[in-house]
């Protein structure tokens, strides 16, 4: 039997508090709870309104949050931390969605993406989302922190201030990381990797 919603809401609120205090076990316990709910809501979205286009991360995350925590008292810091935990999950969901679209639409083939069409919020640009995901995979081997920033900014659509809150660093630091991550991704997506002789 699944836990009653009330009990679950309480548990999640507690885990979010733990997360804010930086307790290391909190994310591990939150993730499975959030992922299941998020996936169900995403699926419901795809079934009703907007069947193959705009999955709006912010909307999905907000709805997931409301469902898990309850509408009553939305504390923006809790909500922001929640988005922080869910950012990577959102990435998985959007990439999965993009892959399905690719295999159904183009028989598995890829179409080239224009860099300036890749935008935060351009969720119907499936190839763009997949390209970012692949580039992030490579960036992860060099700098995991930058990947985290991109997940927050791109996949969870958090602002600089919200990302700073999640990461517990200054807005200035997030901005720097974001700038360099953008540059790195742009170069990975456009410039051929140069082979040294």
């Amino acid at each position: 039997m699944p836990e009653s919603p009330m009990a679950q809401a309480g548990e999640i609120t507690q885990l979010l508090a733990a997360l804010r205090e930086g307790r290391p076990e909190a994310p591990d316990r939150l993730v499975p709870l959030v992922y299941e709910e998020l996936r169900q809501i995403a699926r419901a979205y795809l079934r009703s309104e907007r069947p193959d286009h705009t999955l709006q991360p912010t909307e999905l995350l907000h709805e997931t949050y409301c469902r898990l925590v309850g509408q009553r008292d939305i504390d923006w810091r809790d909500r922001t931390h929640f988005f922080g935990v869910a950012a990577h999950l959102m990435r998985l969901i959007l990439v999965d969605h993009g892959r399905k679209h690719r295999s159904e639409k183009h028989g598995g083939g890829r179409t080239p993406v224009a860099l300036d069409k890749i935008q935060i919020g351009s969720w119907d640009n499936f190839e763009g989302v997949l390209a970012i995901d692949e580039a992030l995979e490579k960036l992860g081997q060099i700098d995991a922190r930058l990947v985290r920033v991109v997940e927050l900014r791109f996949f969870a659509e958090l602002s600089l201030d919200e990302s700073a809150e999640v990461l517990g660093v200054s807005r200035e630091t997030v901005k720097r990381d974001w700038n360099i991550a953008r540059a790195w991704l742009a170069s990975a997506l456009t410039l051929e990797p140069r082979r040294e002789p």
Partner: protein, 375 residues
Amino acid sequence: MSPEKWERVKALFHLVEEASTAERDRILEDGCKGDDDVRREVLRLQLAAAPSDFLEDRSDLRLAVGARLLDRFEIVRLLGSGGMGEVYEARDWRLGSRHIALKTIRPDLARDSRFVQRLTKEVVLAREVVHPNVCPIYDLFEAEEQGRPLRFLTMRLIRGETLDALLRRRGPLSAVEALPLARQVCAGIDAAHKAGVIHGDLKPSNVIVADNDGVESATLTDFGLARTFEEGASAGHSSLVLATPAYAAPEVLNRTPVTTAADLFSLGVILYRMRMGGLPGLGAAMPAELGWRRAITACLDQRAENRPARASAAIQTIEGTGRRPPSKWLWAAAPVALLAAGWLLPGRAAVSRWLSPVPKTRHAAVLPFDTPSRP
């Protein structure tokens, strides 16, 4: 590249970015201390970071609550966002601090002069539509916000909830609940069509329902705005189609010239969703009432010329006062082609004969509300 070198690259990249153009070379030379790997990597990143729209920071373009535009409009709150930009509630201090809706236009679109021209044209047209079920557009503005140009349009603020939100909250409506709303939606559509304005993106989130002491009124928003995109697409200029696929007529998705009949198709999807909660499709259940079934079926005809000419005709059909549609709408046997396309809504009673005739050559056009179609 070693982690230490990468950290140096990041620090140096930042220094160079902050510096004035004149100083950049010197800072790079000093900073890399003769390390070619570091120099090359910083240069490469800089080249890639050169101004472009890639991952442009739109959340930071959001207007802050309390912000003032043109010394006139004060942002009260964000109402929502869509394909064109964001919609805010704002106060117009020049007109007795009235509350209005303010819709911003995405910078990449606002920068496109042809887009702005078309938008202006559509706004001029849409302003001719004066009807209680159509949200009036007031004006188009250009301002500067934090050193960046900002275009936005103003319209009446409709206090209420979108039909989309209402249906999510309440679930499917009964015939009695749905009829007054449907009637108003149809009246709005007909009024705009009479003025020569096509909506192009009718859907539940463009219908705002207000509740005045138990009496619900429906207002259509965004008349004409989606058309701005569509013309751009046919001019081979932009790949954008603003229309929301689930509600768009086949001819919209095929990019063939769109007429008022496209709005009638979207109306069919809206009527269906009002009654059944989800989107129509093969095997999906239909409303129990014959009038509703007929109206929906007629609107959803794949062929634009077979759809009702006016939305009021759909209402008459619902109420059973209209002419009976030709039998081909109701009983044509299309499902074979649809089954071949592998499309079935799970878990629903198969009531498929309401579907309209299928052009033989195109399965794709049959399934505008499906997830991707097969070639």
